[in-house]
């Protein structure tokens, strides 16, 4: 019965132990979950370890926990280190994290202590050294309940050992990390080029035929229309497409009439328009409105050149000087106001983009994603 039970238990450990309740990472180097340190001790050790991390990139993380959840202390420490990512993932200082885990003597059982080393520290801090630290340095203190002293003694010895292996400041690591991030861009570019190719094909396919069709649509006289239709037929444009282009002609003629530059031009276009199918009553209606139309066009001009053009146009269509002057002034004022607003918007977007690139190097940035392979040692007290 016990054998079945223990093998079921072991099965749970062999496959991912998702039922385990490991604490979430705090991005702090000292995590006194069991409450055995004083506030001052936590603060002091935190300062020291964060400074050590900033100046050498090595991360020593202290954890005290009340309950090991049926795991061995070395197992728990390895899983915690892996979950929190203590240590750096940068190639230069890879996996340089250490976890010191203490479970004090309490209602859950006797005391346990473990030192778990990241892959990158296993070389300089081998299992035998960790065992020696635990048995000779930490356990004598732990047996007397001097938890902080035990941790301090271990940390003081571990720091120079780690520094012997890795000694990179955070800025050095950040710079080398930026170089590494070029990543797998080859697929990205393949897709981009494919997309560009597709777009180009769609755009340029049938350019010639579209030109012929627009020749029909924009014809300004019956003779032009005939020529354009003939050219389109030669260019193998389908009849259905020719017909639909022809259908657009009256409306286009109406637009040209609306934008006529002078009454004389209007008259010429009007004759052609009638011949090409634009209704006579529509033309007459438009003619009647042209004086007001040109005045409102002037008022809504959007550049100085347009104002000049539209002024002579309005004059040609019979507006009186006073009205023209007023409309032109209004237009110019609007243009000036628009220019000021645009300048202000440009200044605002410039300043916001430059302020977003703030520096990120100030302060301890948390754990760097290091990995733990099960190295280290453990002991009981």
């Amino acid at each position: 019965m016990k054998r079945i039970f223990s093998s079921i238990l072991a099965l749970g450990f062999v496959f991912a132990a998702t039922a385990l309740n490991l604490p979430e990472k705090t991005d702090k180097m000292v995590n006194d979950f069991a409450g055995v340190f004083s506030y001052q001790q936590v603060y002091d050790m935190e300062q020291r370890l964060e400074a050590f991390s900033d100046s050498t990139s090595n991360q020593i993380c202290i954890v005290t926990i009340a309950d090991l959840e049926d795991l061995e202390s070395s197992d728990y420490a390895q899983r915690l280190g892996e979950k929190w990512g203590v240590g750096s993932s940068n190639k230069k200082a890879k996996d340089n994290g250490v976890i010191i885990l203490i479970k004090p003597r309490n209602e859950y059982g006797g005391g346990d202590v473990a030192i778990a080393t990241g892959y990158g520290i296993e070389g300089v801090l081998p299992d035998a050294t960790c065992k020696m630290l635990i048995e000779k340095v930490m356990i004598p203190e732990l047996k007397e309940g001097r938890y902080y002293e035990a941790v301090e003694a271990a940390v003081m010895r571990i720091m120079p050992i780690m520094q012997g292996e890795y000694d990179f400041s955070k800025d050095e690591l950040q710079q080398s990390a930026q170089k590494q991030s070029s990543g797998n861009q080859s697929y990205f570019w393949v897709i981009v080029l494919l997309g560009v190719g597709i777009w180009l094909i769609i755009r340029f396919a049938g350019r010639k035929k579209r030109a012929l069709m627009s020749g029909i649509e924009n014809a300004k006289s019956p003779e032009e229309l005939e020529k354009a239709i003939a050219a389109a037929r030669e260019g193998k444009v389908k009849d259905s497409k020719i017909d639909s282009a022809k259908a657009k002609v009256p409306e286009n003629m109406f637009n040209s009439l609306r934008n006529a530059a002078s009454p004389a031009a209007f008259a010429t276009l009007a004759a052609a328009a009638t011949a090409m199918g634009l209704g006579a009553d529509r033309i007459a209606n438009l003619e009647g409105n042209m004086r007001e139309n040109t005045l409102s066009d002037l008022r809504s001009s959007s550049s100085r050149e347009e104002v000049l053009e539209n002024t002579s146009r309005a004059r040609a269509f019979g507006n009186d000087e006073a009205a023209i002057k007023a409309a032109a002034a209004a237009a110019l004022a609007a243009i000036a106001a628009a220019a000021i607003a645009a300048a202000a918007a440009a200044r605002r977007s410039n300043s916001s983009s430059s302020s977003s690139s703030s520096s990120s190097s100030a302060g301890f940035g948390g754990f760097g994603g290091g990995h733990f392979g099960g190295g280290g040692a453990s002991g009981k007290f």
Binding site: A128, G197, A377
Partner: protein
């Protein structure tokens, strides 16, 4: 009409390039599984390398325990003789491999338990070092086995999913076996000071 044809051809080409992405991903995943497997093998090998030294050290102090020592040596050579080809692993082969290694674990456990009775041995620096190394190696073996299982699970899921499952077989992507739970191998508790 011609435009439609072009567009279709282009779409087909793009979709093929995406499925070739899938193949490449399978290749990458398989390599990850292989490297995870070689990590496991490395840790087992590390344990093998520790054993001769351990046996010799214990022999110096606990010559009476000849039987236990002989057992360990035998199991070690048995475990060393079972090699696995990572490309050709199946459930059976891995089960055999694991059984041999687990038996070795049990033998080592007995050896450690027996050593408890010899205070001179327990005080020997070399023995303590070896013991620490052995504990560390057992930890590492457990970690790498767990990693391997996780990675193999991802790979097996990927080749079983649709549409990858259709062509995974053509290219020779086979399912990888898992490590199962150790049969009640409780390792000896650590020496206390």
């Amino acid at each position: 009409m011609k435009k439609l044809f072009f567009a279709l051809a282009l779409a087909l080409g793009v979709s093929f390039s995406f499925t070739s992405c899938d193949y490449n991903q399978l290749v990458e995943q398989q390599e990850t599984v292989n490297s995870a497997w070689s990590n496991v093998e490395n840790q087992y090998q590390r344990r093998m390398d520790l054993i001769p030294n351990l046996v010799n050290t214990v022999k110096g102090y606990a010559a009476h325990e000849e039987n236990t020592l002989k057992e360990v040596v035998e199991m070690r050579s048995k475990a060393a003789s079972i090699t696995l080809n990572v490309d050709d692993m199946d459930d059976e082969a891995l089960a055999k491999f694991q059984k041999a290694q687990d038996q070795l674990s049990q033998g080592l456990g007995r050896l450690m338990a027996v050593s408890e009775a010899y205070p001179d041995l327990k005080a020997n620096e070399n023995f303590l070092q070896l013991q620490a190394q052995l504990e560390g190696t057992e930890n590492r073996i457990a970690v790498e086995r767990r990693n391997y299982n996780d990675i193999a699970k991802e790979y097996n899921t990927a080749i079983a999913k649709f549409p990858t499952m259709i062509y995974a077989g053509w290219f020779g992507f086979k399912k990888k076996p898992y490590f199962s739970a150790q049969e009640g191998a409780e390792y000896a508790p650590t020496v206390q000071f």
